[in-house]
């Protein structure tokens, strides 16, 4: 590894001022291809990264980082980390970790992306755009047609003996189309998360996007009331993602999660099992060790409705007198150590999607929500989200609905799950990788007309 010499110098010099030190380096190669009207609208390539130093000074942890990874940064890194540690007055013990006894050896890097040529990738996005424009005359333009790929490597080296590295890659392809019928404008989106470019069926992605836009033309609100609801798999995955912080031991310990004191108690319908699975073969958060070098493990966080554990890193585990669950993560080399899920999903249930819809006489099928970053409150569990979808009448999907809000409380929704589909899918990854089947809820408040 090219950084070995630099790291040794940092440790050597750092040891004069601090007790233990750890270097975390992240490097990522990214490709983004955007197509508009058959031409490459944007083509972006990059290779970048950064180095984070953390270290203990009188038992307190200080952090610093740089994107200029060379000797000119050594003094700044050490001085900043050392000074930053001086001001920490949290009593929670935070140490540089000595490492787990053994680690799994699973490779998550896929050749199916790294060996494909850039021409193949460009060709794929272009085909997707042409296909999406060809399916229906009412599709007047393409809002976005994009291929995005990441290839990320991590190195963690510390003075306690940890010396770990891994690589992970993945890509997403998506198209958003605009359909018009007179003054009525609707959009629809289709996407796939991919680990192997040869497996991508662009025709189906285009079809899904066009179907979503066309079938929502003429949408109108529904009368305000409480309705039984089916929420589309990827949308429920987004909702789960937005509330994931409630499972973090850090939030619990700070009194910012309503799941405090709820381990071993029923918090959801017995139908619900939520898994944190770092070993998932095609996961975008798959890893054998977390960002502080703890080995990762498969675990059920909610098992048939019962909360089994919170997610821990080393520091919060110590406080609760348990072991780290291997969920110590850094948003990037610029962030300090926090907690997040790996591949986090709701286990699939026994009902087909048709059965979920078929069981409702008068209700709503939600296919999209907006405002996830603002219209919900992970602390109270309350949410009120702009939504669109279809009316369900006598067990069948009927007219499109938009300009409504669905409002409720996440914890109440978990208890109000009536059925779970067998169609587990993962949402577009933002921070983390979340999956869910389609979910039927007994009753939710809808505001419409």
């Amino acid at each position: 590894m090219a950084y070995r010499e630099l790291i040794n110098k940092i440790f050597h010099k750092g040891k004069e001022k601090m007790e233990d030190l750890e270097v975390y380096i992240e490097n990522s190669k990214e490709i983004e291809i955007k197509v508009f009207n058959g031409e490459i609208d944007k083509y972006s390539i990059s290779e970048s990264g950064g180095l984070s130093l953390r270290g203990t000074n009188n038992g307190k942890m200080g952090y610093s980082y740089t994107e200029k990874i060379d000797e000119s940064s050594i003094d700044m890194l050490i001085n900043e980390a050392c000074e930053n540690a001086e001001y920490i007055d949290s009593e929670d013990e935070e140490k540089i970790f000595v490492g787990s006894d053994d680690y799994k050896e699973i490779k998550f890097h896929s050749e199916g992306l790294s060996t494909a040529s850039i021409e193949e990738k460009i060709d794929l996005v272009k085909k997707l755009e042409i296909e999406a424009l060809s399916l229906d005359k009412r599709v007047t333009s393409i809002q976005e047609c994009v291929y995005k790929e990441f290839d990320k490597s991590r190195y963690i080296v510390n003075t306690k003996g940890i010396d770990l590295s891994d690589t992970l890659n993945g890509a997403a392809i998506y198209v958003a189309v605009i359909a018009k019928d007179g003054e009525d404008i609707k959009t629809g989106m289709g996407f796939r998360l991919i680990k192997d470019i040869s497996q991508v069926d662009y025709k189906t992605i285009a079809k899904e996007a066009v179907h979503e836009a066309i079938s929502s033309l003429g949408a109108k609100p529904i009368k305000s009331n409480n309705y039984p609801l089916v929420i589309k798999n990827t949308i429920f995955a987004d909702l789960l993602s937005s509330f994931a912080s409630v499972f973090s031991s850090d939030h619990v310990q700070k009194g910012m999660s309503l799941l405090k004191d709820k381990v071993e108690t029923k918090i959801a319908s017995p139908l619900l099992t939520i898994v944190d699975d770092p070993d998932l073969k095609d996961g975008f958060m798959s890893r054998c060790f977390d960002d502080e070098g703890t080995k990762t493990t498969y675990k059920k966080i909610v098992d048939k409705g019962v909360l089994t554990t919170y997610l821990y890193n080393w520091k919060t585990a110590k406080k609760d007198n348990v072991s780290s669950t291997g969920n110590g993560t850094r948003g990037s080399y610029k962030s300090s150590l926090s907690i997040s899920p790996t591949n986090f999903y709701i286990e699939k249930g026994n009902n087909t999607f048709e059965e979920l819809i078929g069981s409702i006489d008068n209700g709503v099928y939600i296919t999209d929500v907006a405002g996830l970053h603002s219209g919900l409150n992970p602390i109270s569990g309350d949410f009120s989200l702009s939504a669109s979808g279809y009316e369900i009448v006598d067990g069948k999907i009927q007219r499109p609905i938009n300009q409504i809000t669905i409002a409720g409380n996440f914890f109440e929704v978990l208890n109000d799950i009536d059925a779970i589909g067998d169609d587990l899918e993962f949402g577009l990854p933002s921070l983390g990788y979340f999956g869910s089947p389609s979910i039927k809820i007994n009753s939710i408040s809808i505001s419409g007309e």
Binding site: E39, D41, K42, Y43, S44, I45, S46, S48, G49, S64, Y65, T66, E67, K68, S73, M76, E80, E83, N84, Y87, I88, D89, S90, E91, D92, S141, Q143, A176, I178, I185, T187, S224, N225, K254, G255, M256, L258, K334, S335, A370, G371, H373, S374, G375, N377, I379, S380, D382, F383, S384, L385, S386, N402, Q403, I404, T405, I406, A407, S447, E449
Partner: protein, 463 residues
């Protein structure tokens, strides 16, 4: 920040395979953030972002590449790699950089890096104490302090070379109120394109109290009713209404491709005649102010809508080409990792004639949204949503009681027509706006105003 000769060589390499425009963006940013939870400093991190972005434009196509390694050798390698996406012939470049004189709208009095960390920590603890001691219902308080100094250099093959130093400081308090097993949040986070002198302008204790006041009010609030009703949005962060409902849809990125509801509507009446809206990147020391945009164009005051008539879009260089229009100084990006695109700086609705009491008393039944949270919009349809952080029901022209958990939804074009009262005490708030070119500081604001009817999504049935 980078030698002129190196810049020339890199730009030449970038146009080695054709293209008609190349640009280099160099960024060196130092930032420091401190986090306090429950009275104790829990996190303290500082560091340096450093990198270079190279952009090549060939007619309407854009190639972008970035790297952390700014040695001449590597930059030329990256420029050549980017250029390899084109198949044209090399262009003979003769560059004669003109350093433009720019006005400094953001004079900095005290560089945050000159202040001891202890002083920053003391301010945070003061803010914390004020928030925590506000009321016994307050169960948790988090305080964040952030300062950054971003130095940028932008040069392009048109001969432009510009430099800017952006110093920003922000202080935020989040309070949690717990009552009967439920928790509610309040947040207040003033910031400015200013140095440490921000703390001569704001009182950290008042910031803490304000966050706790909101959390406490919401802890005692009932669920908001659902339905369609008149909504009054207060000044400051109320400006998120225009930002989401209209601002994004005026960005050239959507206009130029015909994917915005405002495409081809210049000169048309698109809003209530009471409405005048402006995007201004030159308001001294304001959160979204920069001297030049991230393409090197000086920022300006752009009149977007005047008395309801659409006057201008927000335009960057590339989308300007597609539209045959000049840049409005609106090309922004989060960092060297993003190609720039059209974005808002400080966007606000201008003062009208009504005063606040008049607006409330002339509203029989409705919702008063005193503090708004964030929101989002789909520019193709204009459908927007945003959250109400602190809301009150209005009955018979009087503010009746606090309500929580409301979301407001609507359609941009329609809501602008439905504004029927505009107040006279404009003030600005600060937000972080995320879009295609990353997350950038954006100022927003308005006087209090009334929308005749809007869908309010709450958990309670009609009242």
């Amino acid at each position: 920040m980078l030698d002129k000769k190196i810049i020339e060589n890199v730009l030449c390499a970038a146009l080695g395979k054709g293209g008609d425009f190349a640009e280099i963006f160099v960024e060196d940013k130092y930032s420091s953030s401190i986090k306090l939870v429950g009275g104790l400093i829990e996190n303290n991190i500082s560091g340096r972002d450093y990198g270079v972005g190279i952009r090549i434009i060939d007619k309407l196509n854009c190639i972008y590449a970035f790297t952390n390694d700014s040695t001449e050798e590597n930059l030329i390698k990256v420029a050549k790699e980017a250029a390899s996406a084109l198949q044209g012939a090399s262009i003979d470049l003769k560059l004669n950089f003109m350093k433009s004189n720019v006005t400094n709208y953001n004079p900095i009095k005290i560089m945050p890096s000159s202040i001891e960390k202890k002083e920053k920590v003391d301010l945070m603890k003061k803010g914390y104490e004020a928030a925590k001691n506000y009321d016994s219902v307050i169960s948790q308080v988090a305080v964040n302090y952030l300062d950054e100094e971003q130095n940028v250099l932008i040069a392009n093959t048109e001969g432009l070379m510009g430099e800017d130093k952006r110093v920003r400081t922000r202080f935020t308090v989040g309070s949690v109120a717990s009552k009967d097993g439920e928790m509610q949040q309040g947040f207040y986070g003033p910031g400015a394109s200013m140095g440490f002198e921000l703390f001569n302008k704001i009182n950290v204790e008042e910031v803490g109290k304000e966050a706790s006041r909101i959390a406490k009010t919401m802890a005692y609030a009932e669920h908001c009713p659902s339905g369609v009703m008149p909504v009054i949005m207060d000044n400051e962060f109320g400006g998120v209404l225009f930002h989401e409902a209209c601002g994004h849809s005026l960005e050239a990125a959507f206009i130029s491709k015909g994917t915005s509801v405002f495409t081809d509507k210049l000169g048309e009446l698109v809003a209530s005649p009471l409405l005048t809206a402006i995007d201004d990147g030159t308001i001294p020391n304001e959160w979204g102010t920069t001297n030049i945009d991230d393409e090197g164009t000086p920022t300006k005051r752009n009149l977007l809508i005047e008395n309801g008539v659409l006057k201008s879009y927000l335009i960057d260089k590339l989308n300007g080409r597609r539209m045959n229009m000049e840049s409005t100084g609106s090309g922004r990006r989060q960092s060297y990792k993003f190609a720039p695109t059209s974005r808002m700086n400080n966007t606000y609705i201008a003062n009208g004639e009504s005063n606040f009491d008049e607006i409330i008393s002339s509203t029989e039944n409705g919702l008063y949204a005193k503090k708004l949270g964030g929101g989002s919009v789909n520019p193709a349809t204009g459908d927007f949503n945003f959250a109400v952080m602190e809301g009150y029901l209005i009955k018979n022209g009087k503010i009746l009681k606090p309500v929580r958990g409301a979301t407001l939804i609507g359609n941009g074009l329609k809501v602008l027509e439905l504004i029927d009262m505009v107040g006279n005490d404009l003030s600005l708030g600060q937000g972080m706006c995320g879009a295609d070119s990353g997350t950038v500081p954006a100022g927003l604001g308005q006087p209090p105003l009334r929308v005749k009817s809007l869908t309010v999504g709450g958990r309670k049935g009609d009242e």
